[in-house]
Symmetry: C2
Subunit: 225 residues, 2 copies
């Protein structure tokens, strides 16, 4: 986190703890509200260019019969919200400026605007950043790491916090696998060393490959809500 978590000054650490604790309280209240309304929220976390928006573009049309709403986080522009709007679902863009993550209050405001009904699915596409969003609870049902096959098999070991916090890994751009040096088995082994039992969904969104199992997993959460 930007405000110096690993630095020795106790004053800074206390303040960061305050910030996270405050967010945690917001997130817990939000989670109760979402559970009560049977709205299932997924928090998608990945680097810029990991393919989060393309994943949603491919996923949403497969979720027939489920009302889907999306909150898009970026530092600037509403490009991603425009892309998602074409799927026909309700979407809201949050611009964070210099901010590196979404927090629970932003999701609260998004819900006020989007007003998703009971048994809706809410996707939160976090700011493109594999690091900071791991620490901020958004009241979601599950955090999902999105990374592409171009990013390398050692990423779970080098950036363990986000993998530890996640329920699932979507491995995107599977169609590029023949052209990159990545052993998917090693990647999954590294990811499950950090997070035993992690669900893994290899997907080529452009080609529609791997979507069925992923969408079944998403649907199961709404059915259980």
């Amino acid at each position: 986190m930007c405000d110096g978590h690993e630095h020795p000054q106790p004053r800074r650490i206390t303040l960061e703890s305050d910030l996270l604790a405050k967010n945690d309280r917001h997130a817990e209240a939000l989670r109760e509200r979402l559970v009560h309304s049977r709205i299932v929220a997924f928090n998608l976390i990945g680097s810029p260019g990991a393919g989060k928006t393309a994943l949603l573009e491919a996923t949403i049309p497969q979720l027939h019969g489920i009302h889907v709403a999306v909150i898009e986080g970026d530092q600037a522009t509403d490009h991603d919200a425009q892309r998602i709007a074409k799927t026909g679902c309700a979407v809201m863009q949050v611009n964070t400026g210099q901010g590196c993550h979404l927090d629970a209050t932003m999701i609260e405001r998004g819900l006020q605007e989007l007003q998703p009904g009971e048994r809706s699915m809410l996707f939160v596409e976090n700011v493109g950043n594999l690091v900071c969003p791991a620490l901020f609870d958004l009241g979601e049902r599950a955090k999902i790491v999105v990374m592409s096959v171009t990013e390398g098999e050692d990423k779970p070991l080098k950036y363990p916090h986000v993998f530890r916090a996640a329920e699932a890994l979507v491995l995107t751009k599977l169609d590029l696998l023949p052209y990159v040096d990545l052993d998917p088995r090693k990647l999954v082994e590294h990811a499950r060393r950090i997070r035993p039992g992690l669900q893994v969904f290899p997907i080529a969104a452009r080609k529609g490959e791997g979507l069925a199992e992923w969408c079944a997993w998403l649907r199961a959460h709404v059915e259980a809500a």
Copy 2:
């Protein structure tokens, strides 16, 4: 930044300003020291998997006659330092834990350990993150954005701060261009809309393509030091 730059609470904004101002003071003292010692430092910023380490692995052997030192930033592991050590240059790994960026004091400590001589080149490979490192001056001669062709042509518009702060963009994994939807001219146009005059170096590190121009640009900085 993680500690709430875009939030309305003035207390938090003040504290973040303090933190950045303190880093700026460290960085300015460090910059003076580096200029005095004719050490040219480059701060490489890019997402996890952008190809920063592979770029250095390909670049360092081309810099004959220049003493090169490297500081590697990651949340965890010394994998990248191990890779760089194989090039024969001096390298130090900094692990930031939950931290999302390197700061100037970490570079000061790195210099104490590495002790690069006059007219050395120092590469700082920042924590994989296109967002937060943009805000933290490390006393470098130039910030360099590293992004791969798989990340998409709209990234400069969606993450403008790092592009605004950079002197150069290295566009990596050029050998994947035939397999992805990216128009390099659009990417460069977007990047230069944010940062007029930005130097752009398209490189396929695995194939050694594009290294000559990039290395000439790096060398010119040492010759001018």
